[in-house]
Amino acid sequence: MLELLNSHYNYYAVMLLLGIGLYMLIESRNLVKKVIGMNIFQTGIFLFFITLAFRAGGNPPIIEEGGGPYVSPLPHVLILTAIVVGVSLTAVALALIIRIYTEYGTLDEDKLKQLYYD
């Protein structure tokens, strides 16, 4: 059990981040905190991909004589792209939140719901 914890701690961190992110996303009533939760959720996924690339005793993937075994460079590239996507999503979300705040004067989801349906 302890050995599994030792060798797989990254995956526990992934699960923790996914859980925290999703919980904040659903449970928090503050819209900005929801967006933060969304970011934490995505960070969990990024960590998952990066962990996939790891191999024990692997070298940086710069091909040279007798340089192997290498870690996989592919997940890093994918996550660079995904980070860019995440940043754009956050930007759009915050822009929408600013518009909502100037119009309704609140960031609280419950109050917003009352105003929204009236």
């Binding site: 996914l18 518009r99 119009e103």
Partner: protein, 499 residues
């Protein structure tokens, strides 16, 4: 030249989308002409591509010269060719509506073309991670477009859409990670081969990947109970945007779901893991019922149409999950037909609201004589959606039911037949109000309710009405094109379905 078309289809709208933003420094009205020119080119290229695919088979292109499976591959077969053509034609058609209906800003047309690029990219890509990127491009453009309504409620709807949509796309990305861990590749064809070689369809890794990817995409397709973003987004967006995204965004996501089922996991997976197929069919059936029931209980016409989409996409996904050749042809026909019909219906609600101020089911009473052409088109599109022959809605549903009968999947047959009755329940109510009920809104008290959407002038142009009439005509005429589509799918489907 031919093999470059798939990548041109993505690049052209992205480049075209940047032009209105730059041109807005000089003129504020440059957006529409630029978008029209770009999409005319797009439609021509997509038509040429679809024709090439139907005569000489699959076209593929290795992006950047990196050969598959290491590089990103764009693959166009009969199925994706048909969807790419649909995206081009519908987006061109909606432009004729946007000319008068607005919004008129340059940034609107930039986003509009970006959405076309994202949708086309999702259609032509042969790489699961690339699909994620295009899914998010589509999403970002769609959130922006929904928020372009003048009312602040549009921003609330867009934020809701953004948060739910991002969770869906992130789940899909997590599923891609699981698949990468299982096989070490991202190319769709290579994934299918590797998964087949490993013969480990029921391993936890592959099952989890399937669950996450399909779950993520069903959020974007808006199947019940993951549809909650959709009615708010459709009802609060400007009319142009409602018509556009209701016609295309869910449609292309459903196409991506089919691509995932047939090109990545393959039919053997569905056979080897019956619980996966049952889960998908079950979800689709629940969606058909719940969508219809929610649609019947709506007061606002646009929200009713949105819930109707939930139900109709249940039908399409059920067809794909049954995965017999007839059912898949039926699901494809209904996918394409639904795009034209739902886009036309939303466009018609926009016209009726502008002319009379009617937005609710009761408000539609007696409007048959006030806006004869739009109301008639609305009625035709409604009946086509119910599946009255000879409209295209009938052909799609008929093939899906035949496919389910062939697969001897009787519970699904029962649900499919009942769904037609349920669809009739909410559309017949509207058609009856339009023609046989005493008017509740009279011309003098119309303005009290009128300026609800974006308020950019309430005039209705010839182009707007033409779009609705053409959509209604297409809903019937497309039936004639079904044999063509079948011929196009003839080369594509058998390898996918292992026939």
């Amino acid at each position: 030249m031919i093999e470059q078309i798939p990548v041109l289809l993505v690049v052209l709208p992205i480049v075209g989308g940047a032009v209105p933003l730059v041109a807005s420094l000089v003129s504020d009205r440059a957006g529409w002409p630029v978008a029209t020119l770009t999409l005319l080119g797009q439609t021509g290229l997509a038509g040429l591509l679809a024709w090439t695919v139907s005569t000489s088979g699959t076209v593929s292109y290795a992006v950047g010269g990196f050969a598959a499976p290491y590089g990103i591959e764009l693959v166009v077969d009969g199925l994706s060719g048909a969807v790419a053509l649909l995206v081009a034609v519908v987006s061109l058609g909606v432009l004729a509506y946007a000319r008068q209906a607005g919004p008129h800003s340059s940034s609107f047309y930039g986003l509009y073309l970006l959405l076309v690029a994202g949708l086309t990219g999702m259609t032509v890509t042969g790489d699961v991670f690339n699909l994620y990127v295009f899914l998010e491009i589509t999403g970002l453009a769609a959130y922006g477009l929904v928020a372009s309504g003048r009312n602040a409620s549009a921003a609330v709807a867009a934020l809701k859409y953004l948060i739910i949509g991002t969770v869906g796309a992130s789940l899909y990305l997590l599923g891609v990670g699981y698949l990468l861990a299982a096989t070490g590749t991202l190319n769709m064809a290579d994934l299918a081969a590797k998964l087949g070689e490993m013969a480990a369809y029921d391993s936890t890794l592959v099952l989890t990947a399937f669950g996450l990817m399909v779950g993520g995409l069903t959020v974007k397709v808006a199947l019940f109970p993951l549809h909650t973003w959709q009615p708010d987004a459709y009802a609060n967006a400007p009319d142009t945007v409602s018509a556009f995204i209701s016609a295309l965004v869910s449609t292309v996501s459903a196409y991506a779901l089919a691509r995932l089922l047939f090109s990545v996991f393959t039919v053997e997976f569905l056979t080897a893991v019956p619980v996966a197929r049952w889960a998908l069919v079950g979800l689709a059936c629940v969606s058909i019922f719940a969508g219809s029931v929610l649609a019947v209980s709506q007061d606002s016409v646009q929200r009713m149409l949105a819930y109707s989409s939930v139900s109709q996409f249940g039908l399409v996904v059920a067809g794909f999950a049954i995965a017999t050749p007839l059912a898949v042809v039926g699901a494809t026909v209904h996918l394409l037909g639904h795009a034209v019909m739902k886009g036309g219906l939303f466009a018609a609600t926009g016209i009726i609201e502008r002319k009379t101020g009617a937005t609710t089911v009761n408000g539609y009473a007696g409007m048959g004589s006030r806006v004869p052409l739009s109301a008639f088109s609305f009625a035709v599109l409604s009946l086509a959606m119910v599946g009255v022959p000879p409209a295209v809605g009938f052909v799609g549903k008929w093939y899906i039911v035949l496919g389910a009968v062939n697969a001897e999947n009787w519970p699904v047959v029962a649900v499919l037949l009942a769904s037609t009755l349920l669809t009739l329940a909410y559309f017949a109510r509207l058609v009856e109000r339009l023609y046989f009920a005493e008017a509740t809104i009279h011309s003098e008290d119309a303005p009290a309710e009128a300026p609800v959407t974006d308020g950019s002038g309430q005039a209705v142009s010839f182009g707007m009405i033409a779009v609705v009439v053409i959509a209604a005509a297409l809903a019937v005429a497309l039936t004639a094109a079904v044999p063509e589509l079948q011929a196009m799918l003839e080369d594509t489907l058998p390898p996918l379905l292992n026939q």
